[in-house]
């Protein structure tokens, strides 16, 4: 809170300095320069008990999401939501969030470089690109900086990746969620993104496998909305016309599930055709409230950030290494074990329902 106020005050101050100097009057920038160093250390809290468990404190940790001003990452990172900075604060580290304003490597890289220049001990990065950040992240690791990726990986250029959800779990759990809503019987369809999307096809593969456990549920069609609202709406309408007995739809894409929800949000279909998939709470709140959607999945970004904070500090404190089988405790989330490829899995997807959806804003 105070940090953001301080930042807000910074903008006019620097602008004033800039304008004064540009007008060639004076170079009095020294006066406004005094209070900058305190911003990053405001998050320290003494109540940490885990500090006793052999974890270093006072580490300079930079949390670098894909971009700033993105509600998803604000949830993942901020103290208020219980994200990465909250974890770092509990552990007594000096955590701060930085990035560019656009989710591109060109915008994110200067922030990473500046963090390294500022003497970072740990970088927690959501990579805007799997390869573009590599040379910089590798040089950071060469300097002894612990590099942890979360949300979006940069394989071979980090010490550890915090994965939000496994492919298998997303695929199987969505079938389970839908089965519960339609009593495990009836025709169902899938509204996917692009036919070539690797992650979509992997999830659909696991869905088909899981459907074998439900002999009365029949997958009648998989259609592709190409993550375009108009196309997704059209293919959903097409499904409803072709399959009048359709009982349920799974859309494992945030664009697709929103388009499908809008199509189903009429008296004719509401409550008669179940819809689930991967979606963001903000976009679907309305449909959960009016009963078009009972439940859908995603991961909890705040928990993802929180876990990344704990994992990174454990790693930087040499409490654990990044090899498979190492385990550590991540505060309120409990115990985690490092898996293959130095990856830590957050856990099963988070199910959003009427009961919990209003706690989330992204």
């Amino acid at each position: 809170m105070t940090g953001s106020v301080k930042r807000a005050l910074w903008a006019p101050a620097v602008l004033l300095v800039a304008s004064a100097t540009l007008a060639a009057c004076s170079s009095s920038s020294s006066t406004s320069a005094s209070s900058s160093t305190s911003a990053s250390s405001s998050a320290s809290s003494a109540s940490s008990s885990s500090a006793a468990a052999g974890l270093k404190t006072g580490l300079k940790v930079f949390v670098i999401p894909k971009n700033l001003g993105n509600p998803y990452f604000t949830t993942a990172d901020s103290v208020q939501s219980g994200g990465a900075l909250a974890a770092l604060s509990q552990l007594g580290e000096s955590g701060s969030e930085t990035s560019g304003t656009a989710a591109t490597p060109a915008s994110q890289l200067p922030a990473i470089q500046a963090a390294i220049t500022k003497g970072a001990n740990v970088l927690i990065v959501s990579a805007t690109d799997p390869s573009a950040l590599c040379p910089t992240l590798q040089s950071a690791m060469a300097k002894g900086i612990t590099v942890v990726t979360y949300d979006s990986d940069a394989p071979t250029c980090r010490n550890m990746f915090i994965n939000q959800a496994s492919t298998a779990e997303i695929g199987t759990s969505e079938v389970d969620v839908l089965a519960k809503q339609i009593n495990s019987s009836g025709d169902i369809a899938i509204v996917s993104a692009a036919a070539s999307a690797t992650n979509q096809n992997a999830w659909i593969g696991y869905m088909k496998q899981q459907l074998k456990k439900y002999p009365n549920m029949h997958l009648v069609s998989t259609v592709y909305g190409n993550d375009d609202p108009t196309t997704a709406t059209q293919v959903t309408q097409g499904l409803l016309q072709h399959y009048p007995n359709l009982k349920g739809i799974i859309s494992p894409t945030t664009v697709g599930i929103l388009a499908a929800a809008q199509v189903l949000d009429t008296a004719k279909y509401r409550g008669k055709i179940a819809l689930t998939g991967l979606g963001t709470p903000d976009s679907l709140k309305k449909f959960v409230a009016d009963g078009t959607v009972q439940s859908f999945e995603l991961w909890n970004p705040a928990n993802l950030g929180y876990l990344a904070g704990y994992a990174a500090v454990n790693l930087a404190s040499k409490k654990i290494t990044n090899s498979a089988g190492q385990s550590f405790t991540a505060g309120k989330l409990g115990s985690f074990t490092v898996g293959a490829d130095s990856t830590v899995l957050l856990g099963p997807p988070f199910v959003f329902t009427k009961a919990n959806i209003n706690q989330f804003n992204f």
């Binding site: 903008a11 540009l22 170079s27 700033l68 560019g100 220049t117 910089t136």
Partner: protein, 368 residues
């Protein structure tokens, strides 16, 4: 316009003709010098601002004046600085090229596509150069031969070239560039601490500076920016020079595409999307008049230092990144406002003295 009108007192001529006469009269040199006067003052202000930014950075962060940080500063703004050089000449000539970042993106996509097809790197560079020439020539011919306004033409090609980039590479990302190339974002030129892009910028700045300030072509660029008609009557091949400027811009931006691609070790269709606005911002901050006829390369160099230094200093001081847009935007507004404020003041004074209807200012006239 008849030659004998030179004898008529300036005040009695319609404003456009006054402009034209002034530029083509024997007293042109004098006029040029007085036109340069405010520009020189602007650059003095910029130099002070550059020093102030360095002082600001040094006071707020102990890391600001380290060689590693200078490397970061240079490498982050290198391509923008390079693209600002041909943009300066184009804006001085009275035109604008908003397609620069899209040419960069198209070049990046082509580089990635050809590399993924296992072309040798030298052949790819030749293709990129040709691509830059064609893209610039297309802009230039539409502006000079078809006679369309460059703002509209290059807004069109901004979309067109970006679209071609998307067609070339689709949603693919190419990143397996060989080691000496994909390390230019972290490795300086051997035995120095200078990023490759900064070295290229320095060399190009010298070349563009000499062309603009010490050759007949350079003087003709100022002349056509100050008054296209007068430049034409003075025998300057306005269309040819402007076409050349667009071609040069195309080639330079295409090469900047290779730098960008290697620095980020990523060829993707949306590389440098939106960066044309940063390029224009640097050029305007340099004191180059958006209406043409005014500006200098030394101003651009100083503006690059202010721009890159300020962004870097703000990053180092935990300044909220979302608000750096306010600072750079504010700088841009100031850089447009201050010179025009002087012109407006001057016009108001002239109005008070002569008690005549205000002649249109040079800015207003060039805007037609």
């Amino acid at each position: 316009m008849e030659p004998d009108q030179n004898a008529v007192p300036p005040g009695s001529l319609p404003p456009e003709k006054t402009e034209a006469r002034r530029a083509s009269s024997p007293r042109r040199a004098n006029g040029l010098r007085s036109a340069l006067q405010p520009a020189l003052r602007w650059e003095t202000g910029l130099a002070i601002a550059a020093v102030a930014v360095v002082v600001f950075g040094a006071l707020t962060s102990s890391q600001f004046l380290t060689s590693g940080n200078f490397f970061n500063m240079g490498v982050s703004s290198g391509e923008i600085a390079i693209m600002a050089l041909p943009m300066t000449l184009i804006i001085i000539s009275g035109e604008i090229d908003l397609s620069v970042a899209s040419i960069l993106g198209m070049s990046s996509a082509m580089l990635g596509f050809l590399w993924s097809k296992h072309w040798p790197i030298l052949a790819i560079f030749v293709v990129l150069a040709v691509l830059g020439v064609v893209a610039g020539l297309f802009n230039g011919l539409l502006v000079t031969r078809v006679g369309l306004p460059s703002l509209a033409v290059t807004i069109g090609t901004l979309g067109l070239y970006r679209g071609i980039a998307l067609i070339i590479l689709g949603s693919n990302t190419v990143s397996n560039f060989p080691a000496p190339y994909n390390r230019i974002g972290v490795n300086p030129i051997p035995h120095t601490n200078i990023p490759y892009s900064v070295a290229i910028f320095i060399v190009l700045a010298v070349i563009f500076g000499v062309v603009l300030h010490a050759t007949a072509t350079g003087r003709s660029i100022y002349a056509m920016g100050a008054s296209p008609e007068a430049a034409l009557f003075a025998g300057i091949r306005v269309k040819r020079v402007k076409t050349m400027l667009f071609v040069v811009s195309g080639v330079v931006c295409s090469m900047a595409g290779a730098l960008w691609t290697f620095r980020l070790s990523t060829a993707v269709w949306n590389n440098a999307i939106g960066v044309e606005l940063s390029v224009v911002a640097v050029v305007l901050l340099a004191g180059v008049s958006i209406f043409g006829g005014k500006g200098s390369i030394i101003g651009v160099v100083l503006a690059v230092i202010v721009f890159a230094g300020l962004q870097n200093a703000l990053l180092l001081t935990n300044f909220n990144q979302e608000a750096t847009g306010i600072v750079t935007g504010g700088l841009l507004l100031i850089s447009v406002f201050v010179p025009n404020a002087a012109a407006l003041l001057g016009r108001a004074r002239g109005l008070a003295i002569s008690r005549r209807p205000a002649p249109r200012s040079a800015i207003g006239a060039a805007n037609e």
